[in-house]
C-alpha cells in the first residue's frame, strides 16, 4: 500500500470524526458561521446618506442603483416625517405627563437627578 492509498483509506475516518462533532460544538459552529455571513453583509454607505447592506449593493446593478439614489433622500424624508407624526401625535403629550407624574417639576431640573440617569445599571 502506498502513501496515497493509505491516505485515501484514512480520509473516511477523518470525515466521520468531523461529522461526529458534539451537538454543542455543532451549534456553536453554526452560530459562528451565521455571524460571519452577517458580517459579510455589513452595511455600506452610499453618498454618506443612506446605508444598504453590502449584499444588496452588489446585487443591485449599477443601472438600478443610480436612478434609485436620486429618490432615496426624498423617500427618507417622507419616511422620517411619517415616523415623526407616528411617534409624536401632539406636543402636549410629554408636557401632560410631566405635569401629572409623582415627581415634582424640580426633580427634572435637579442636576443630581439628571446625573443618576446616566449611572451604570447593575
Amino acid at each position: 500500500m502506498n502513501e496515497k492509498e493509505f491516505a485515501h483509506r484514512l480520509k473516511p475516518w477523518l470525515d466521520r470524526s468531523a461529522a461526529d462533532v458534539g451537538e454543542l460544538q455543532a451549534t456553536r459552529l453554526k452560530a459562528a458561521r451565521l455571524r460571519a455571513l452577517e458580517a459579510a453583509q455589513e452595511p455600506v454607505r452610499l453618498l454618506g446618506l443612506v446605508t444598504v447592506s453590502a449584499g444588496t449593493a452588489r446585487t443591485l446593478r449599477y443601472s438600478v442603483v443610480q436612478p434609485t439614489l436620486l429618490w432615496l433622500p426624498l423617500a427618507a424624508l417622507l419616511a422620517a416625517l411619517a415616523f415623526q407624526s407616528l411617534r409624536a401625535p401632539d406636543p402636549g403629550e410629554i408636557d401632560a405627563q410631566l405635569l401629572t407624574q409623582d415627581l415634582p417639576l424640580n426633580a427634572y431640573l435637579d442636576r443630581d437627578f439628571r446625573a443618576w440617569l446616566h449611572e451604570p445599571q447593575g
Binding site: P91, G92, E93, D95, T100, L103, Y108
Partner: protein
Amino acid sequence: MVARTAGLIAALVLLVLAPGTHARDLKTPQTPWYNLSSEQQRVLAPVASEWDRMPGYQQQRLLGAARRYPDMDPTHQQRFEQRIREWASMTPDQRKAARETFEGLRRLPPEKQYELRERWLRRHPNEGRYPR
C-alpha cells in the same frame, strides 16, 4: 453627475427640514384667551393672566396637555392644576431641559425608573409627592 444631483436634493431636504421644525414653532400663531372654549379656559385658568403674552407654540403645547385633562384621574388632575403655573413660568430652556430629563428617565427600565424616583423623593422630603 447623478451623485451630485442626489446630494443637491439631500441638501435641499435638510435646508427645508432642519430649520423648519424651529421656524414652524416660532411662526405658530397665537390664540387669544377669548378664543378658547370655556372648558379650555377652566383647565388653563392658572395661567390665564400670562396667556396672551405666551408665544403661539407654547400655547399649543399647553392646549395639547390640557386636552388630556378630562381623561385624567383625580390625582393627576390635582397635580396638573398645582403645577401648570410653575410650568408656564419656567423659561423655555428649563422646560426643554425638564422634557429631556423626563424622556431620559422614560428610556430606563421600569424598575430603574421607580428606584430613581424613590431615591429623589427620599432626598427631598419637603418637596413630597403632589398632591401634598
